[in-house]
């Protein structure tokens, strides 16, 4: 497509009007989520089936199809929304498509079974704002994902995109932009919660040219995917924030560092950068302001530690992505030893909002110390899993129950893990805690990047601690001794405990190691690594004791401490488990009680999943 350069703010407004004039708001439009989650559930096939079906009925010019990014409710994918009415269909399969076209597009009726049904009342919800998962959210950042095709910049512009840039460049001085971001008290969303405005100012004032601005989309926390959703679903919101930041800081060159596991984010961001360049929103003399700026994408190569600021910059330089000692901050001496400002994807995406609506509006949302919204990845043992954006100050209970719909299968809630490998497990008694940076830290956990993993009674807390430590053993760069050796030792102890070799004194030893690592490790990885261990010891000590003293895993997770057996009273002799057992460890005849041979059983748990009568029991 040939795009005319936007040479002034009024050009942008003119273009927006032209785009809107070409679009009939009454024209039926099918928005289909083509984010990684829905694609995993077969969205591609849903999209092609819609295209075929519309063609078959000669409707291809009457109805528009828009492939969008992730609106957050991935669990219920593929998500399909029919506009202008905004009818929200969930779990759409290719086979549902002819019916949607017939009933909804032609007859203007709903396909009842594809609407959200409240599990308690059986009531149907038709629109996004009637679905409890969405109703209790505040979707300032992620709300537009279902409204834009990330591969088409015009969609973003139609919604008022790049207006913040059009305001900042001619009307505000760089200092005024920084002042506004400082007044908004925007804290970094990548983990530390450092005030973005102050960091920008440091880089702006640091001696040395050129200066760099960088987007951190390394998203290393295993279980968090909000950066993926923004970068993939609405890349221009991040790019617009980055250009404004570059202007404020005085940088002419930017980088977007994307995790290797996110190929679609790389693709959509590349397209977005190309289109922004065609419109002159990147490049020389942006919007006639005289300001020059351009951006490159860099694909990570799979290393958690490379998400740390100095490590990420080493990686950008083509080196091993390991951290440097922090005597001098990267904001003063970063990439190629030049002043460099790094922010998380979500931090950047907040900038256009702050510029458009002002710091006063932004600070009206949230708590005293944490302003605005935060996107959490609500996953694990919770009914509605997905991305939820909420104002700071909302309680864990509201997130897990009102939005998440509680715990599946009538199980009991046990804990929620926040902050990823640097965070901790928060037990049920703190479920009414208001979520913000400071409150989570007080509980020994962290905000981190916003991972929120819900755990029920079937989750073993010792196993969770072991999981994170083993993760970090693999991911530590190994440059400093306390982190390298400390993690190895902790892993040994935790593995021993989980495998029935726990000893008196192990807990104290873990605590001691934790103190040393916290105080003497070089980077954040080592310094925060003990958190998952310390919080689980602090809040769930009895589970450690059960493993160590009684050699029991109360949650039935640690394999060495459990046995599978068949309850003779309940077994109907249906042969199902016998056929399913991969080890041939189950013996029995039709309609006779089956037995498991302990010697052969590998404790894979397949029989437990297979039995429909609840006859396989774990002890």
């Amino acid at each position: 497509m040939n795009r005319r350069k936007i040479k002034s703010p009024s050009d942008l407004e003119k273009l927006r009007q032209e785009i809107l004039a070409k679009r009939d708001p009454k024209k039926p439009r099918i928005a289909i989520c083509a984010g990684t989650g829905c694609l995993a559930l077969g969205a591609r096939k849903v999209i092609t089936t819609f295209k075929e079906e519309l063609k078959k009925r000669g409707l291809e010019n009457e109805v528009e199809i828009r492939e969008t990014g992730c609106p957050g409710f991935c669990e219920k994918g593929t998500i399909v929304v029919i506009y202008p009415e905004g009818i929200y269909y969930l779990q759409v399969q290719p086979g549902d498509v002819p019916e949607i076209v017939e009933k909804t597009l032609v007859e203007k009726k709903h396909v009842e079974r594809l609407l959200y049904t409240d599990p308690a009342t059986n009531e149907k919800a038709i629109h996004e704002d009637e679905i409890p998962f969405y109703k209790h959210q505040m979707r300032l950042l992620i709300g537009n994902n279902i409204k834009v095709d990330p591969k088409n910049i015009d969609d973003y512009i139609a919604l008022g995109g790049y207006r913040a840039l059009a305001k900042a460049l001619p009307e505000m001085t760089p200092e005024e932009v920084i002042e506004e971001v400082k007044r908004a008290n925007l804290r970094g969303r990548g983990g530390g919660g450092f005030p973005a405005g102050r960091k920008w100012e440091t880089t702006r004032n640091a001696p040395g040219e050129p200066k760099y601005v960088i987007v951190n989309c390394d998203e290393g926390d295993p279980g968090a995917f909000m950066n993926r959703a923004l970068m993939e679903g609405n890349p221009h919101s991040v790019i617009e924030g980055l250009i404004i930041g570059a202007y404020a800081i005085g940088s002419h060159e930017g980088f977007i560092y994307v995790r290797d596991e996110y190929p679609l984010a790389v693709e959509n961001t590349s397209i977005a950068l190309g289109q922004a360049r065609e419109y002159g929103l990147l490049g020389r003399d942006i919007m006639g302001s005289g300001f020059d700026f351009d951006v490159k994408i860099f694909r990570g190569a799979g290393a958690f530690i490379s998400g740390e600021s100095s490590a990420l910059m080493s990686s950008l330089e083509g080196k091993v992505g390991a951290p440097k000692p922090k005597y001098v901050h990267t904001s003063i001496k970063g990439l190629w030893n030049k002043p460099s400002n790094l922010n998380n994807v979500e931090t950047w995406a907040n900038i256009p909002l702050i510029i458009n609506k002002g710091a006063r509006w932004f600070t009206s949302i949230g708590t005293e110390g944490s302003k605005g919204t935060k996107i959490f990845a609500l996953v694990g043992k919770v009914n509605n899993t997905g991305l939820v954006e909420v104002p700071f100050g909302i309680t864990l209970r509201e997130i897990i129950y009102n939005i998440g719909g509680g715990i599946p299968n009538n199980k009991k809630f046990k804990a929620v893990q926040t902050g990823g490998p640097s965070g901790g497990c928060i037990p049920e008694r703190f479920i009414d805690t208001a979520v913000d940076f400071d409150e989570l830290t007080k509980l020994g956990s962290m905000m981190g990047s916003g991972g929120m993993i819900v755990m029920d009674e079937d989750t073993c807390m010792v196993d969770v601690a072991r999981y994170f430590i083993d993760f970090l053993v693999d991911e530590s760069c190994g440059r400093c001794v306390p982190c390298r050796e400390g993690l190895e030792r902790m892993s040994e102890i935790l593995n021993d405990i989980c495998e029935g070799r726990g000893k008196e004194g192990d807990i104290e030893l873990l605590e001691e190691l934790s103190e040393v690592m916290k105080d003497t490790s070089m980077c954040g990885l080592g310094r925060t690594a003990p958190n998952p261990v310390l919080t689980t010891i602090h809040y769930f000590r009895e589970e450690y004791d059960a493993h160590i003293k009684e050699k029991k895993c109360p949650a039935h997770v640690c394999k060495a401490l459990i046995e599978y057996y068949i309850d003779a009273e309940k077994c109907t002799g249906c042969l199902a488990c016998l056929k399913a057992c991969p080890e041939g460890a189950i013996a029995g005849e039709k309609e006779k009680v089956h037995v498991i041979n302990r010697e052969k059983c590998s404790k894979c748990g397949i029989c437990y999943d297979t039995c429909k009568f609840g006859a396989v029991i774990i002890s």
């Binding site: 995917f225 860099f298 799979g302 080196k319 996953v379 043992k381 748990g605």
Partner: protein, 162 residues
């Protein structure tokens, strides 16, 4: 090694040390792994010490210095998948393919790897074969998925490690 191919990849970037990671990524996309002679050649062309090139290739997990199978099977062990049974998916895949994580079957059809989060955590447990994602996967369905990629009991058995 096809020097022309590598030259072409290098030309698409700059002959600059800072382009080392993207160059290795493109070479790996071509070969599915990083053969040693390509690393030597790249070191020579970019005039960087071979140890630096090896340093990068071993530090970053997405690089493989051993040949990989035709199909790359990756099982997610991120936190969300872990609490929803990811390790059992991996064990099942190991058992079916007859190899351990990080290994390749003898006939070079499958390489099995684990990965920390693929960004579709709401669908855990997740397994990815090549670029196809399988979400909410019960252990009982793993074999069926592998069949789609030509798994027969003949493929199982240990090949080289990756």
């Amino acid at each position: 090694m096809d020097e022309d191919k590598i030259d072409k990849i290098i030309e698409e970037h700059r002959t600059d040390k800072s382009e080392l990671i993207p160059i290795l990524q493109d070479v790996q996309a071509e070969y599915n792994w990083l053969p040693q002679d390509t690393l030597r050649y790249i070191a020579k062309r970019l005039q960087v010490p071979l140890t630096d090139v090896f340093g990068i290739a071993t530090f970053y997990k997405s690089f493989s210095l051993k040949p990989r199978g035709k199909h790359l099977v990756r099982v997610c062990l991120g936190t969300a998948c872990h609490v929803r049974g990811g390790p059992r998916i991996l064990e099942t895949a190991e058992r079916i393919l007859g190899i351990k994580t990080g290994e390749t079957t003898e006939d070079y059809k499958f390489t099995l790897e684990s990965v920390n989060c693929l960004g579709c955590c709401a669908l855990g447990p997740v397994m990815v074969v090549d670029n196809e994602y399988y979400g909410k996967l019960p252990p009982t369905k793993v074999e069926k998925v592998l069949h789609k990629y030509g798994y027969t009991s003949l493929s199982s058995g240990k090949g080289g490690e990756t």
